[in-house]
Symmetry: C2
Subunit: 198 residues, 2 copies
């Protein structure tokens, strides 16, 4: 694909180089497929750059993302690119030493860890998978998320996925893609299948 040219150059006092390297907040939302899949695809690029990657899965799932997790763990352990740390809410978050009462509490704990990692500049890419849901449900305060992302130090890219991304997050994000459903096999009686859905 040809490289795009900016349609507007903002008067923000930044040089093109500074602007080019400004870390991004990316949102994948909408009712179609591919939101998480594209986020994990993006992680391949981050891995290739040698960036440490932190994945936080914010919604429990029977299937999780087993293929993506195994692939990224193999890549992270290969010694050829960046490292990969994979955190799952539904398994109690690895850093939490006590029982969490509710999914709401678990989601908040996840976000607290993301804040700590952003402050410590732990990762170059954060995949906050399905993180739109706890914001949409009011479990995590969207205003706080927007402020923390805006003020995060260093060069840390953040990808957030989930169907109902709050408008405030969309406004604050740098890159937003809405995955729209045109056609889905479940519409005609097909069910999810291995290798495609998980």
């Amino acid at each position: 694909m040809p490289q795009g040219k900016p349609s507007v150059v903002p008067e923000d006092g930044l040089t093109t180089r500074q602007r080019r390297n400004r870390p991004l907040v990316v949102v994948h939302t909408g009712i179609g497929k591919g939101k998480s899949t594209a986020a994990f695809g993006l992680a391949l690029r981050a891995w290739n750059q040698g960036w440490p990657i932190g994945v936080f899965q914010f919604v429990k799932s029977a299937k999780w993302k087993v293929g993506e997790e195994r692939a990224l763990r193999v890549l992270g352990d290969s010694g050829e690119g960046g490292t990969v740390a994979w955190h799952k809410m539904g398994e109690g978050w690895s850093w939490v030493q006590r029982d969490l009462e509710t999914s709401e509490e678990a989601a908040r704990e996840g976000w607290e860890q993301v804040k700590r990692d952003l402050a410590a500049e732990t990762y170059g890419l954060y995949v906050l998978d399905e993180f739109a849901y706890p914001m949409h449900w009011g479990w995590v305060d969207t205003d706080e998320v927007v402020a923390v992302l805006r003020d995060r130090p260093g060069t840390q890219h953040v990808v957030i996925t989930g169907r109902n991304a709050p408008e405030k997050l969309v406004v604050a994000a740098d890159l937003v893609t809405e995955m729209g459903k045109v056609k889905h096999p479940m519409d005609v009686g097909q069910k999810g299948q291995k290798g495609i859905e998980w």
Copy 2:
């Protein structure tokens, strides 16, 4: 995410199990980001299932998809999942022993190889990256593509990406996602950057 229930069960004489395992034609189209990225994310699932993966890149690019290529090559060579074969049009296609005069001829050569591989059931997942373009430009006949995909033997999933997927392909596909642009950093003067765009 909860597993979806089919809204309609078609009278196609197939059992649920047969329908569930019917191989898919997946199309990622639209003007937004994430079409190719989500296709390579899907390849992680296929890799995890141990399927041989064939990637065919149908459009020359200065940046290609270097991150995805390196990651999938490392995965393919890890011995832990499926194998990965990566073919690039812009480098003359590895199997072609003569000079190709034009991009149109090169695209046709790529499609001929895909046909041979489909007939031989070489791969479990085909990523035909940017293949919507040669169809859109009339270099490859969409009717023929639809017929070849419809009649392909065995269990071979095919993902096709590209901005202008022909309507006939969309009609024939099982799963179609349109990536819509909501916001892009180039709109405000940011340029593509490593680890995100490539």
